[in-house]
Symmetry: C2
């Protein structure tokens, strides 16, 4: 390929969580905050791409702005576990090499997505968990924080509210329920508004390389070291230049069981479908049949972007190959 043939199209898409996000439950002020922060994250990633930076740099930059914002369930502002802690998960994947990195159950690294990237680039491993992952990140020179850094009043109040609901519902939770009933019951109890606040980004850079990354605080009131789909490569995060880069947000257990991100790439590769067709099939048909709420953002090697979700809303945004900026929250806002 000659220097003149270098691809110069760039594009980026982000999400800040999906769920029952309705206009009637939103103040104008709060909505404006979300739109402004989504746009800030998008532009941070897009600036890097325009300057010739890599898709990996772009997705990390976009996610770090959302990790640092208390609006989203990732980094600062993450939801609390049953023990009153914040346990964070993140993953990243490079579509060019199919290298990947993931961390789960960490509480002391300021930027979980940066930790995932260190695992990918500076270790022979793909996935690290708990104290071991924290030690690695610290040895790599990443900024560590006291776990209280992640605390916000709003999330702690959510935990207390759910704990109280749980207490009052305990009598109705017999052992005779099936795992499926328990899963749906758990969902009703722990996400009364069915909102999944993971953040993610996918991007295409000037060299034609795509990347995906995702970061989350998981489920409010989660117990037992529960890990969702985010750090499960293939479920919440996947990237392959040959198909697409994907980041998901939703009810993690269903996304793991459906291997959502990899399934989208498999439909593209083996059935020769577009990124939009493949993402729609998985999110709007297959996940709906299973009962799994949520959505994905996806980008292919040409910069085509798909952002399907099967919930009432998804915080999302994109800057396409033409430079057109789009921000959406509700169902009826199409690019």
């Amino acid at each position: 390929m000659s220097a003149f043939a270098q691809q110069s199209k760039v594009a980026i898409a982000i999400h800040g969580g999906a769920g029952t996000i309705l206009r009637e439950n939103m103040t104008a002020e709060r909505e404006a905050e979300y739109r402004a922060k989504l746009e800030e994250a998008l532009k941070a990633g897009h600036d890097i791409l325009e300057e010739g930076g890599t898709s990996l740099d772009a997705v990390v930059a976009a996610i770090q702005i959302m990790e640092e914002s208390t609006l989203f369930n990732a980094g600062k502002g993450a939801v609390f576990t049953n023990d009153g802690k914040n346990e964070l998960d993140a993953a990243i994947m490079d579509g060019k090499t199919r290298n990947a990195g993931a961390v789960a159950g960490i509480s002391t690294v300021k930027s979980p997505v940066a930790a995932a990237r260190m695992v990918m680039e500076n270790s022979p491993h793909v996935m690290m968990i708990g104290a071991g992952a924290e030690q690695f990140a610290s040895e790599q020179g990443l900024e560590t924080v006291d776990p209280s850094y992640f605390y916000t009043d709003r999330r702690f109040e959510q935990l207390e509210k759910i704990r109280n609901t749980e207490k009052s519902q305990l009598d109705h939770d017999g052992d005779s329920k099936s795992a499926e009933d328990k899963r749906q019951g758990y969902l009703d109890k722990h996400f009364p508004d069915r909102k999944f606040g993971t953040v993610g980004a996918v991007a295409l850079d000037q060299n034609g390389n795509i990347a995906a990354a995702t970061s989350t605080g998981g489920m409010t009131n989660k117990r037992y070291g529960r890990v969702g789909d985010v750090p499960v490569i293939g479920a919440g995060t996947y990237a392959d230049n040959a198909t697409a880069a994907i980041s998901a947000t939703g009810h993690g257990e269903y996304f793991i069981r459906s291997v959502v991100a990899h399934d989208i790439t498999a439909i593209m590769k083996y059935q020769n479908k577009s990124v939009q067709e493949a993402a729609n099939t998985v999110v709007k048909d297959k996940l709906v049949d299973m009962g799994g709420g949520g959505g994905v953002i996806a980008i292919d090697g040409e910069g085509n972007i798909a952002m399907p979700f099967n919930t009432k809303g998804m915080y999302r945004g994109s800057i396409d190959t033409e430079g057109k900026v789009y921000i959406g929250i509700y169902e009826d806002e199409q690019p």
Copy 2:
């Protein structure tokens, strides 16, 4: 379906790890021990299937025999971490419901595969890690053990040998190496014999339901809470009645990045390939291109079994729908 139309074909396959397993490095006595234990595990699972038990019960029974044997890197006889501990991972998946359960980084539950099953059946979650997973297993009444239960002299000597090798090689490990070089270098150092000792089982029961499960101690000398492919649903373990049940063994990082188990089912579903064709494509072509050593066992809803590997050997066995028993260790032993 009438009672008379009930399917009665049953079949099972197991593995006990893949790698550079050569006749010249094996004593006749040790080889006989492996063959006997593989046959014992196979028959335990097959007996359950013949008596009308579920494929889930069969894969758990087969794996527990291998977990309790010191011959394999799972349960008792698992390899040691850099800290001199045994940290175990396991997963299970039900092809009928596509429910799944996984645990990672646990040290006090006697049967990790039983813990994974409890996560699947008695929790709303799919994946639990570390102390939280141990607490859940204990609350569910699973047998817990002192971590010393998993200790064996043989594995501890392996750790010490690798630690010494590592010390002497430290000077050659510059920071300038790429992640890919580090991965291969790590492999050479930590698996001088390139042997991956995970155990797994797949089965078809009389109701036509398939299941897969896998259990492992991971990599000798692993650090930083490293987790391999085993508890990553879609990578080391996957099951869907519509396609196949799969359990993998090999260099976990490559198996995660390739989403090996789900990729096999995707090729079957979207390209209408047989389980043998799909498993061969992934293990003998795609993984080899990437540099990922290992193998899989796979079974479809008709009881067709595939056991491809790209290493010198794989401890493996099967009882097919005709009741024919097969045990293999080396490359040249075909069913």
